[in-house]
Each structure stands twice: as structure tokens, then as C-alpha cells.
């Protein structure tokens, strides 16, 4: 039991510093010693969500809520998993339970703000975030969330001030870096925004918020390149299953176009469509690798400019 607690503490440390694989390893050790440790299951679910292993995260979250229904962490994980599955009704129920049990926790108010954003109730978000700030005025995550809200509503000066404050408290905070990037981009400082986006991507090269920022920056400098970045990040965001559905739909359209062109006796058009499809096939194989290479180059170029 003592050993499992030690592994759990190490896992929490690894999670805090962003080493998710290390955290998973420690949690597996903890659960090998004590398979009924609800807290370890809950942390494991959080780690698996960060690794985008949703199916396993759902299983671990279920074990956490079964073994420790009274734990706040179990409810938090259940809410996060429900949000990841886009089951907003269940997520809302868990968030309300969290806020009823521990209204003093700013993270739960932020989670509610995120839920409001995802359910399209953006105009109800501000009082929730302000309550989170009242509870913890120096919490960089809350400041970053407020900054992102003001950047969205066009109050750029306010957004920038809040992001600056968040970065003064925690210079490496990913949410704050992204918020500052958006504030700078809306203020017309593309280079500054890019630097912040790259800094945010350093911890997680596929972090959706930071990628969305970098994509918008790309679009400003080159609309064609920006369109490609939009497409590539969209494919990353929707995940492999939906990407395959998109490709299958494209295949059906391609085959239908060829059949119709052939039936109308337009062999030239059919050949043209087939050549275009060959391009799509080649791109679907090399596209993701090209995108990751472009992203890596972005990260390296900013790194080199600093030295």
C-alpha cells in the first residue's frame, strides 16, 4: 500500500511536468500493487486522455467512479471523459456535482466555462470565469481562460493584459502562451504571436489550441499555405476514424464521377478524374508526414533564431 502511494505521488509529479508516459508507467506500478486504488485509476484516465487513448480512458474512468464514487477526482475524470466523447449532458451533470461538492475550486469553474463554450453558450461564460478568478486571483489557467474569452469578444487590450499577467506568474504556462498569442495576433503582431504559438507547442507538438493559433498565423501570411494548414490540423483534430470516413466519402464521389463520365462517353474527363484521384491517394499517404515535418521545421526555426 505504501509503495502504491509512492508511485501515485511520482505519477502526479510526472503529470504536472507534462511527462505523461512516465506518469502512466508509475500508475501501472501503483495499480499492480493495489488494483483497487481509485485515485490511480482516475489519474490513469487523465493521462490516457492526454495521449488521446479514449477507449482506455473510458474504462479507467469507469473503474475510478466505481471504486471511489466519493472522490472529486473521479467526478472530474468522468466529466473530462464525457467532454472528450462529446456527451455534453453527462459532462454537465458531473460538472454540477463537482461544483456542488467543492465550489471553492477554480478548476471546476473553468471546466464549466469550457463546457459552456462547447455547448454554444459562450455568453454565459464570463460570470463563471470571473467567479474562478475571485477564488484564485493568481491562477494562470483562469487568467488565460479569461484572456481567451476577451480575445474572442474583441476586447484585445484586456485580453493582452490578462495574458501578460498569467505569463508573469507562470512563464511556461501553455494556455497563457496561447492566450497571449491570440491577443498579439488580433493586435496585428504576427511574429510575436508565432513565437508564443511555438513556445506552447514545445510541450505538446499536437496541442489543438496552439495548433489552431499557428494555423491562423499561417493563414494571415499566406492564404494558400494557411488553407493547407487548416486542412491538415482539421484532419489531426478529427482523428483517424473520421479521417477515414472523409476519405471513403471522397472515394465514393471519385468513383461515381468516373462512372458517370464513362456512361456519357467522356473518356477524357474520366481519365482526368482518375489522375486527380491518384494525387489524392498519394497525398493521403504522405500528407500527414509532410505536415509534421513542416511543424517540426517551424519549431526548429524559432529555436535557431533565439541562439
Amino acid at each position: 500500500m505504501i509503495g502504491s502511494q509512492r508511485f501515485l505521488e511520482r505519477a502526479e509529479h510526472f503529470y504536472e511536468i507534462g511527462q505523461i508516459d512516465g506518469a502512466i508507467d508509475q500508475l501501472k506500478r501503483a495499480l499492480t500493487e493495489d488494483p483497487d486504488l481509485a485515485e490511480a485509476h482516475a489519474w490513469l484516465a487523465l493521462c490516457l486522455l492526454r495521449k488521446r487513448r479514449l477507449h482506455a480512458a473510458v474504462v479507467e474512468a469507469g473503474l475510478a467512479t466505481t471504486l471511489g464514487p466519493e472522490l472529486l477526482l473521479s467526478n472530474l475524470v468522468a466529466a473530462e471523459v464525457a467532454l472528450a466523447k462529446r456527451d455534453f449532458e453527462r459532462a454537465g451533470q458531473h460538472i454540477e456535482m463537482l461544483l456542488a461538492d467543492a465550489p471553492e475550486h477554480p478548476a471546476f469553474h473553468r471546466l464549466k466555462a469550457r463546457w459552456l463554450t462547447l455547448t454554444g453558450k459562450r455568453n454565459e461564460r464570463l460570470p463563471v470565469l470571473e467567479e474562478a478568478r475571485r477564488l484564485a486571483p493568481d491562477d494562470p489557467e483562469t487568467l488565460a481562460a479569461l484572456s481567451a474569452h476577451f480575445a474572442e469578444t474583441g476586447e484585445i487590450a484586456r485580453a493582452r493584459l490578462l495574458a501578460e499577467e498569467a505569463l508573469r506568474i507562470e512563464p511556461e504556462n501553455q494556455s497563457a502562451l496561447v492566450a497571449m498569442g491570440w491577443a498579439l495576433l488580433h493586435g496585428g503582431d504576427t511574429a510575436g504571436a508565432r513565437g508564443h504559438a511555438i513556445d506552447a507547442l514545445r510541450a505538446d507538438a499536437l496541442a489543438p489550441d496552439a495548433l489552431a493559433l499557428l494555423t491562423s498565423i499561417k493563414t494571415r501570411s499566406n492564404p494558400l499555405l494557411g488553407a493547407w494548414w487548416h486542412y491538415a490540423t482539421w484532419m489531426e483534430r478529427i482523428g483517424p476514424t473520421r479521417s477515414v470516413i472523409v476519405l471513403l466519402a471522397a472515394f465514393v464521389l471519385y468513383r461515381l464521377a468516373v462512372i458517370i463520365a464513362d456512361q456519357q462517353g467522356n473518356g477524357g474527363l474520366a481519365s482526368g478524374i482518375q489522375i486527380a484521384w491518384l494525387g489524392v491517394v498519394v497525398y493521403s499517404f504522405v500528407g500527414p508526414a509532410l505536415f509534421r515535418k513542416a511543424l517540426r521545421r517551424e519549431l526548429e526555426s524559432v529555436e535557431l533564431r533565439r541562439f
Binding site: K28, R29, T32, A56, E60, P240, V244, R255, I259
Partner: protein, 154 residues
């Protein structure tokens, strides 16, 4: 990989040394046909001890039954005059798409497991030679079978 096992982690068998990246069976399905690719998918699944192997097998079995069944119904409809004679290419497309759905579904399920398998140090064989063999043999082995069996295995 001993100790606590996460739900999506594989439990490799002694055959795991013959496992390949599921990209190769997928290519074999496209270049050679189902008769070669689907047993290969099934073998791969058992070799790495995929936690989703039941779902993968269910997809493969459904993929053997549903496309020829749909084709049989549509061909009968053409025979009965319910569909125009020119719908042949569309029926063919329907069969191909149904098979592709199965191929992609199994590929996606196996890919997740293979990623984790490799993360824990699991080694994979290069599957290009069986793919080339499938490309060379193609549909020749099943070409003389009755239509429905051909639709099932090609």
C-alpha cells in the same frame, strides 16, 4: 508489459514475432484481394493479442457476408427489372465500398494496438513481400469460383 494491463494494451502471443504493421494487410486487400488480406488481418490480431480482436473478427466475418449478400440482392433487382441494366458499375462500386469500410475499420482497430505494442518495444516484420505476392497472384486463385464466392473473396 507485465503487471497492470490497460484496456487497450495488447497481450502478445508467441506468434507476435510474425506480426506486421496492419498497413500491409490493408494494401494486400487493395492489391491482391480479400482472400489473402483478411486471414492475414486475423492472424495479426491474434499474434499481437489485440484487445479488440473480437471486434476485428466480427468486422471480417461481416465483411465476408454482407457485400456479396448486398450484391446478390441488387443483381436480382436488375434481373427483375427493378433497377436499370446500366446499374452494373454502381453495384460494383457498392461492393468495393462495403469491403473498404471493413478493411479500414479493422486497420484502425489494429493500428491503435500496434502503436502501443511498438511503444513497449514490440518488433514488427516488414510485410512488403507478402503484399507483392498478393499483387502477383491477384484474383487468379478465385477467378474460377461461382459469382457470389468470387464477390466474397476477391
Amino acid at each position: 508489459m507485465s503487471g497492470y494491463q490497460i484496456a487497450d494494451e495488447p497481450a502478445p502471443s508467441t506468434l507476435a514475432r510474425y506480426a506486421v504493421n496492419p498497413l500491409y494487410p490493408m494494401l494486400a486487400a487493395m492489391l491482391g484481394g480479400v482472400w489473402f488480406a483478411w486471414p492475414w488481418f486475423a492472424f495479426n490480431s491474434f499474434a499481437i493479442g489485440s484487445p479488440t480482436r473480437r471486434a476485428e473478427l466480427a468486422w471480417l466475418v461481416a465483411g465476408l457476408i454482407v457485400p456479396p449478400a448486398v450484391a446478390a440482392v441488387l443483381i436480382s433487382a436488375v434481373g427483375a427489372g427493378m433497377l436499370p441494366r446500366a446499374s452494373g458499375p454502381y453495384i460494383g462500386l457498392c461492393v468495393v465500398v462495403l469491403k473498404l469500410v471493413v478493411v479500414y475499420a479493422v486497420f484502425l482497430l489494429q493500428s491503435r494496438t500496434i502503436e502501443i505494442y511498438e511503444y513497449y518495444g514490440g518488433k514488427l516484420l516488414n510485410g512488403i513481400w507478402p503484399v507483392l505476392a498478393a499483387l502477383y497472384v491477384g484474383d487468379r486463385l478465385v477467378a474460377d469460383l461461382p459469382v457470389l464466392l468470387f464477390l466474397m473473396l476477391s
